[in-house]
Structure formats: C-alpha cells, structure tokens
Amino acid sequence: MAWQLTDYCSSAPIRRLVITGKDWPENIMKLLGRGDRDMVDSIHKDTRIEILLRSPPGSPNYAMAAQLKLDENCPLWTPREASAGEEAELRKIRDMQGHIRRHMGSRSMSSITTQDMQTVLTANFAATWSQELPYYQYAVNSMDQGVRA
C-alpha cells in the first residue's frame, strides 16, 4: 500500500463535536468513518485541548477559527469536562503562559519572536526544552497577541 502524507489534519467536524460535548467515538465514526484512526485520534486529542483552553479574541487560535468560520452556526459551547490527563496538560500550558508573560514583561505579546521562544524554553527548562515545545505552542497560540480575526 502506498504511503501518503495524510498524517496530519485539522477538522471542523471534530471541533464541532468537541464544542458540543458530543465527541464520543461512535459519533466521530458517524462523521469520519473508521479509517485514518490514529490521525483522527490525534486530531481529537489536539482539538480537545484547544477548545478547553478557550482561546481569547486576539489569539492566533481565535483568529484562525473566526477566519475559517469554523464555528459558524455553532450552538452553545458545552465541551465535556477535562479528564485528569487533560487537566494536567492544561495546567502545564497555563504554567507556560505564566513563563511567557514573565519573560515578556511590559513588552506587547504581538512582538513575540522565535528568539523569545528560545529564551523562555531554555531559561526555564534547560536540557528538556524540546519536550516543552508543544506546550509552548499551545500556550502562545491561545494568548492574546492582537491578531485580527
């Protein structure tokens, strides 16, 4: 079987299921079938965190969702509560946001650069910085950077 670069994607149907708290496996299968299960599971996990973070206006996550009208006609947000594992992930992301805010000080978040990323990660996590990179990405993209929707 030929391999394909279909390992990553983002998905509005999964997002909508997560937002409405109906992201059960059988519902995901009703909309996306049974194929690409690893990919779908990975998107589901990613989307859960993104939604549970409730990114504010001005954040890249918020701007992207608005621009792509991902939440057009969306009912009230009623995502399922975070599991213990998700809660731990969210805590790490919020801690990371604290590190970023302290590092930025009085500078605007809109001026954040990859140099800031390197400094935040290496100053706070030394040799394990690469393990923290995903949390940094979640953190920074769910913070208000003045990104226009």
């Binding site: 391999w3 509005a12 909508r16 299968m29 009703k30 992207m64 990405q137 990104v147």
Partner: protein
Amino acid sequence: MDLQELVRTFNKLPRSPKTPSGLVDDHWHIAIRHVPLEPPGDLLHLVNPGSRYTHSEGPAQILSVEPATSRADVVLPMLLRSFVNNMGDRDPRVTPRGPWSWGTGDEKLAKALEEKLKAAGVRNELCMIKVGDAKDMVIEEEVWARVFDGLKLLAAPKCSQCKNPPSSDGKLQVCSRCRKVQYCSRDCQKADWKEHKVICKYLAKDPSIGALDYYQNFAPHFPEAQELADEIELSLPGQGSSSHGLRYTDPSCRRALASWHGN
C-alpha cells in the same frame, strides 16, 4: 499544469518579506528527504524556519537521479507546485503566496536549481538560493524527525483496538467482513465490535475509505450522520457551506502559525 504554466502562475503569486502573521520571515528551507517505507521514495521537504511550518511534496525518485542538474529537473516543478497549490491547503479562501526567499543545505542542488529557475523564467529575485544556513538546517532536521516519526507510525501495521504491533510470532488478523481493520487477537476484535459494527458494513463496500473521503463523500448520504450533524448544527459537505472540510496540515505547526491563515 505544464512547467511554463506553472512558472507563470508562480510568478503571479503575491509575496512579502514576512508571513501574513507578521511574526516571521517568509523564508523557506528546501531539503530532499528519503523515506525508506513501502514503496521507498523521496520527498521535497519545505520548512519555514521561523514558524516551523512544514510541507512535503512527493513522493518521487530524486536522490537517486544523477547529475544534480537532472535532480533539479525533478525538484523544480515540485517546488513551484508547493506554493501554487498553497502547501496543500484546499481552503479556497486562503490565497496562495510565493516565498520571499529560499535556501538549502545542498550546495550542488542549489546551483543546479538556480540555473533551472533562471531558464524556466522564474522571477529574478527567486533565482538565488541561499546555501548552508546552519540554523535553518538544524530546524529542518528537527521538523523532519517529527514528520518522519508520524510517517513511520502510519506505515507500521498495528491492532485497531490496542494499537500494538503484532507479536513477533504472529500476524494481525483482518476483519473478515470489511477486510479493512486488523486485530492482534480475538479478544481485541470482540472488544472493538461495538464500535466497529457501526462502520463495518460501509467499509466492506470500499475498504480504502479514509476519514476525509468518508466525511466528504459518504457521511452526507447516511441518515445517522445527517441526524448527528443536524443536532450539532454542522453543515455536511455539499450542503451549502465550504468551511467544514478537513484540512491537511501539521497541527503543531498550525498552532505556531495559526494567523498564517488568519490574515
């Protein structure tokens, strides 16, 4: 699209020194990566070092082609196509953009590509390829390692229920009805049946359905999918909304560069 048309389209793409987010330079690092999976092939791997946004084009046979000028013949259309096709983003509202600059760690390929770019009539500013930026090369290595890990995971056979590979002395057994999903044991198959039966009959009709195909072509025709979509107020494809598709992109990079699409 033949090369001439590809070049014409590429030359018309809007460009700017920064990505639409304004956060990072719109510079792209070019690398050719071999993927020793089945069937083996090479990918043109593009990375925007500032955001770590990644895109791969291929597979094709590239590294085995000699000399470098012939390799450049293979790479040139792939390179231009990546930008013309908007890095695979199919959302019609996101305008494709040309790069502001590009570079590579492969000096021979850079020289050969520069000649091909000039000969093909690509805009002058992009007929120069920066060579050997160590920082960009390190970033590309890191990004590629992650992409390759994902490819390996996809390529490896594993049990649909427990996700373990088959034990050293055994093979995975396929569902006899749909022949799409595989299990390492009878117990795993039994445990998965409640979920699998929902979809088994459809997969049996076409076992090659991926999530994207299913969502776009099958779900709109199934009452249970329609009922669920109505409940969550989601327009299924073909029901008057273009915003509810699947978009292929690296989620971690998407997060890092979310405003790429947003502006």
